[in-house]
Amino acid sequence: MKSFRDFLRGFKPKYRVAHDRSLGIPTKASASPDVVERLLYEGYMRRMRTTGEANLNLDCENLRAFPPSRKLYVQLTKYPQEVIPAMDQVLKDIMLELAEEDQTEGMEGMQGREGEEEITEIMSKVYKVRPFGLPAVNMRNLNPGDTDKLICIKGLVIRATPVIPDMKVAFFRCLTCNHTVQVEIDRGKIDEPAACPREVCASVGTMSLVHNRCEFADRQVIRLQETPDAVPDGQTPHTVSLSVYDELVDVSKPGDRLVVTGIYRSVPVRVNPRQRTIKSLFKTFLDVVHVRLGQDSRLGLDGSTRPAGGDRVPGVGGGVGEEDLEDQEEGLVTRKAEMEKKLKELSERDDIYELLSRSLAPSVWAMDDVKKGVLLQLFGGTNKSIARGGGGGGPRYRGDINVLLVGDPGTSKSQVLQYVHKLAPRGVYTSGKGSSAVGLTAYVTRDPDSKQLVLESGALVLSDGGVCCIDEFDKMSDATRSVLHEVMEQQTVSIAKAGIITTLNARTSILAAANPVGSKYDVNMPITRNIDLPPTLISRFDLLYLVLDQVDEAIDRKLAQHLVGLYLEDAPETGGQDILPVDELSAYITYARSRVNPIITEEAGEELVLCYGKLRRVGEDPRSSEKRITATTRQLESMIRLSEAHARMRFSTHVELEDVQEAYRLMRDAIRTSALDPMTGKIDMGMLNTGTGQQQRKMREDMRKEVMNLLGTSGAGATRGIRWGDAMQQLGAQSSIRVDAGEFKEVINALEAEGLVKVVGERDRRMIRRADA
């Protein structure tokens, strides 16, 4: 154990650096020499003393890096059962030693009485070394050879038992002479003394257990399941049992990803607890010594949507606080450094924007702008909150970009969605047809075990901090869709059901795809007539793309070639050679989302204002005085988000001119396709916001006047009213354009609501009458 003593007293970060280099792992261009030269673990131990922490996390990689303790690493992994308690002892000794040294040196807080107290406290404590940092192995590869070895596995917690008191020391008392005996647990068993050990008494079978004098430890059994990425093709995931003790109890909850270090055990199974026979079948489990809540880079969520300070700090034993965490991460960081460098290099490419958009759903043809829009959605704007507002939190501004694709069937919309779902952090895919309101929001159910009401979250809540892809958006029921109103602007889901009233966070971007009414897009009708969606909802999308199926010989030929190619035996071309594979693209996006939070520069700000002005003026017609709304503040907000996303994509810390210009271009193009009034050829945002365009509003006004005229003038009409059909016909005769039945109905309804006319009768027999007649 001398080597461990040397290690604790002598390890310096420089050894680790040298070690990593020898293994060819890129290291952090390290810091000043005094950082490298400082005695790492002495520092940790001092901190443990001041914070009163009793656990020391030990990175096994450091053991290996320190030449004198290299052998110890092997011993630790092979015989953890013997080595770890010995290490605990050494740790305590050194803690004392260190405290005494500090006392003699007269360090602050260690003088005189204070120091004495510290030392007695150390004496009374049980110190524990918690090793970690072994290379993780796959659960499947655990075999009998690993029994009683120290191993490390990763997985997902699926179940955790309540805390179980685990007897450590049993207390027996003789029923005849009241002699007491304490028996310690030995390899999971306690031997009940057969007879009273006192020679005078020595009666057989009189020892009885006194429960409240036994010593217990907290124990919890956790079931850990393989994560999807570790499971081989076509296999169902395996699970292992973990036994966690004391401080580690309740550190993790079902649903957490863990990296666990522990001792692998196999114990014989007792077939029937009442019989004392043991079949040579075995149960295996892991006695856990160290737990770390894992972060999976692919599933990484948007950090800014989480409360500051992280979800739960692994109460493992910090004792060593941040620096330790940093240290833990260091190993990962060095391994990730390479990836990071690669990503950075990528981000410096001039054509990164094109490259990324090309890599998005490479099997889908063309649709460049759509891909660009979706790409920016993946990056997302920054979430802003008024932090200095009351109570720290303050309201939060949405940074998520919502995109709606509308288009003819068979234009690969779904493919784009599927692809994004695979790519996005916490992507959730749902089809409007199949999702009830429950599936999209949350659902109150009774837990089968506890018989208590619990909230089960649906797609939207699940994708909190990610992207929720909704296909067949138009086929969704109205009730479900109405939930989205709240989600898309407030980013919460409110529930009031079965006595549970709560608001859940659903900070998600929405990527939706919808088919036009009558499945084919009618270019002669405004978009609101083409999509059967309430305008209030449409306006909540930052970008709205029309994907139309147009006939073009060159494109058709290429398309046919592409499709026939699929059936030939050769590998099909994937639309360009230079594309990023999915995992790289995903890593790029995750990295950008987690690390880059661009700030808008002054120059960009001015440009934003300018572009907004431009956008607002698009619909202006110098010849007429009427005002057409082409952009509202919603569009300005969208533009800000888009420019932020674009800057993020470049890994730029500032939003610059080019970002704004690209955002403006995307906005303008999207608006041009979607908000164009087919009657006038002008852009009219009002159409998207309220569902009726300027032109339409004017038409209604005219029609209304005419209807009143009709009712006023025609002799019969004035008294008996006029038939619905006749009124339509007469209007049609007067007007140069066709009178739309729907429009007509709208007008009559409005008149009726104002109390000017009355409608009597049913269907074809409907009569319109003046109310005062």
């Binding site: 699926i158 076509g234 077939v271 043991i278 079949k279 079948l281 429950v438 030929r557 046919a560």
Partner: protein, 531 residues
């Protein structure tokens, strides 16, 4: 020599195992499982020898097998999630451990020392009879069963079988070989040969129940085909000279018996049945078919199973008929789900190559609860992407499937699903559609065998699109787009896949222009029916 080995292995596999262990080089005990596998698979290498092994079938009750009898079991792997199990590879007596051989220790206080170095692990899985397997197919592989027909008791853990209330066998499988990448995959069909015993279920829960357990000696790949086992088919490798005629006969027969004489419908059914997943990466999936205006069963007929299901059961090795109702949708799980760490099966957990006929006629007005909605969604997902998501706590795992769908709908299209093709039936004379199995006029045995052979070879066949044909197809597509802008790329995709299937059913090696034209014709006639 060989035959004595065979007899010995059949009568007392345990003794053979012990003998093998005796002779095994004691320094290489780690290789013992391989030795066992090699020894037994060598003995039963030929098909004749293989068919000597008694098969586990539903026709015989499990209790009628001797304890530790050698059996074979053609099974679908249902669940591979149980953790590997540890066993002592060497018993106290120095004898062989594993394969259900173990010491019973008397743990009376002083525990005998276990040598942990002798621990080995074995893979544990749960396997069930292949769901939807046709009677004739099972017979051709397992032979006629001289059934000592006991009362078929409800098998334990019936939630592990996809089809509710269907007689089946479910056993725990223990594989002692180190498998590496060859571990059985879920929904895969394999022939397991091993020793049948009864052992407690390997789980984490404290209550243990005894389940039939098969200690596998060796496994054998199962390929869909009528080649192995008893030959009911004499025309196996004979190149079919009149395949064109035979194909037509087959279509005629299907049309006559099951579809009221509608030839086109019969052809579409045939094409749907022989389709399979071509490429997952390029998402070339088998097309799904809806037969619309399918008459609903008149209330007087007691059997709601359409004749088509019976006919397909006679023709296809694997088929399943689902009589859909709201109750079924809301109650029966379609998707496998892991509850309390036990993977419950779902209706859609089917082995590759199964054809499923869904009859919508039983669906009444009413409400779909959440499970119903999810079930509908799951079916749609399998149709379009041929993947099935198994539900696990906190995660879902997608597994590839290869299942063909035929939906029978009363309306003009399927009420619940979007299928690739919809074909309205031509002559809805209702009495013909719901005959019982016994009412079907069977063709002569040789013809029926030839039909089956045709379908199996079409299903397993390969076909390419020729260079000139592909050029022709491209040109035609461009022209069509010019003439009619509503033609979309999906139409082209569908047309090519239909052409492939027609080519396969005609036993062609390449899609030529003739086949292509035929496909166009068929498609045109289908579209004409909507007019």
């Amino acid at each position: 020599m060989v035959s004595s080995l065979l007899v010995e292995a059949l009568s007392s596999p345990t003794d053979v195992l012990n003998d093998l262990y005796e002779y095994q080089d004691k320094t290489a005990l780690g290789d013992f499982p391989q030795t066992v596998t090699k020894h037994f698979s060598d003995i039963f290498r030929t098909d004749e020898a293989f068919s000597e092994i008694p098969a586990l079938t539903t026709a015989r009750s499990l209790s009628s097998y001797r304890d530790r009898a050698l059996v074979r079991f053609r099974a679908m792997v249902q669940d591979t999630s149980p953790a590997p199990e540890m066993y002592l590879s060497k018993l106290k007596s120095g004898k062989c451990g594993g394969w259900g051989l173990f010491d019973t220790l008397k743990g009376d206080g002083k525990e005998e020392e276990l040598d942990y170095a002798d621990l080995r692990d074995c893979t544990v899985a749960w396997a069930v009879s292949v769901p939807g397997e046709s009677e004739w197919y099972a017979k051709s592989l397992d032979g006629e069963c001289d059934g000592t027909d006991g009362p078929v008791q409800e098998p334990p853990r019936s939630h592990k079988f996809p089809i509710p209330k269907e007689p089946h066998i479910g056993v725990q499988i223990k594989i002692y070989n180190v498998l590496g990448n060859d571990t059985p995959k879920t929904a895969e069909v394999l022939n397991f040969v091993g020793i049948l015993t009864s052992e407690p279920l390997h789980t984490e829960s404290d209550v243990s129940i005894d389940v039939p357990t098969l200690h596998v000696l060796f496994t054998r790949q199962h390929t869909l085909g009528i080649t192995s086992g008893v030959d009911t088919v004499r025309v196996v490798d004979e190149p079919v000279p009149n395949s064109e005629d035979r194909r037509q006969d087959l279509i005629n027969w299907i049309a006559e018996e099951a579809l009221g004489g509608d030839l086109d419908a019969a052809e579409w059914v045939l094409l749907t049945c022989i389709a399979r997943v071509q490429s997952r990466t390029r998402s070339l999936h088998p097309p799904s078919l809806t037969l619309s205006h399918f008459p609903s069963a008149s209330t007087s007929t007691s059997t709601p199973t359409p004749t088509l299901s019976h006919v397909l059961a006679l023709l296809l090795p694997l088929s399943l008929s689902v009589h859909l109702s709201l109750d079924l949708l809301n109650r029966v799980p379609f998707v496998p789900e892991s509850k309390d760490e036990d993977l419950h099966s779902g209706l859609l957990q089917l082995s590759p190559g199964t054809t499923i006929v869904i009859n919508e006629s039983g669906v009444q007005e009413g409400q779909l609860i959440e499970r119903g909605v999810l079930n509908v969604l799951a079916v749609q997902n399998v149709m379009t992407s041929q993947t099935l998501s198994y539900k696990f706590p906190f995660s879902e795992f997608s597994f590839p499937t290869d299942v063909n769908f035929i939906v029978l709908s009363q309306g003009s299209k399927s009420a619940l699903w979007k299928t690739d093709f919809t074909l309205p039936l031509d002559s809805p004379t209702s009495n013909e559609f719901y005959k019982t199995a016994s009412e079907i006029r069977l063709p002569p045995a040789e013809t029926l065998a030839a039909f089956r052979q045709l379908i199996v070879s079409a299903k397993t066949g390969k076909i390419e699109v020729g260079e000139s044909t592909s050029q022709h197809i491209q040109d035609e597509f461009v022209q069509e787009r010019k003439a009619d802008s509503s033609v979309s790329s999906d139409d082209l995709k569908q047309a090519i896949s239909v052409a492939r299937l027609i080519g396969l059913s005609m036993q062609e090696k390449e899609v030529n222009i003739k086949v292509w034209e035929r496909a166009k014709e068929l498609e045109k006639r289908r579209k004409a029916r909507f007019a």
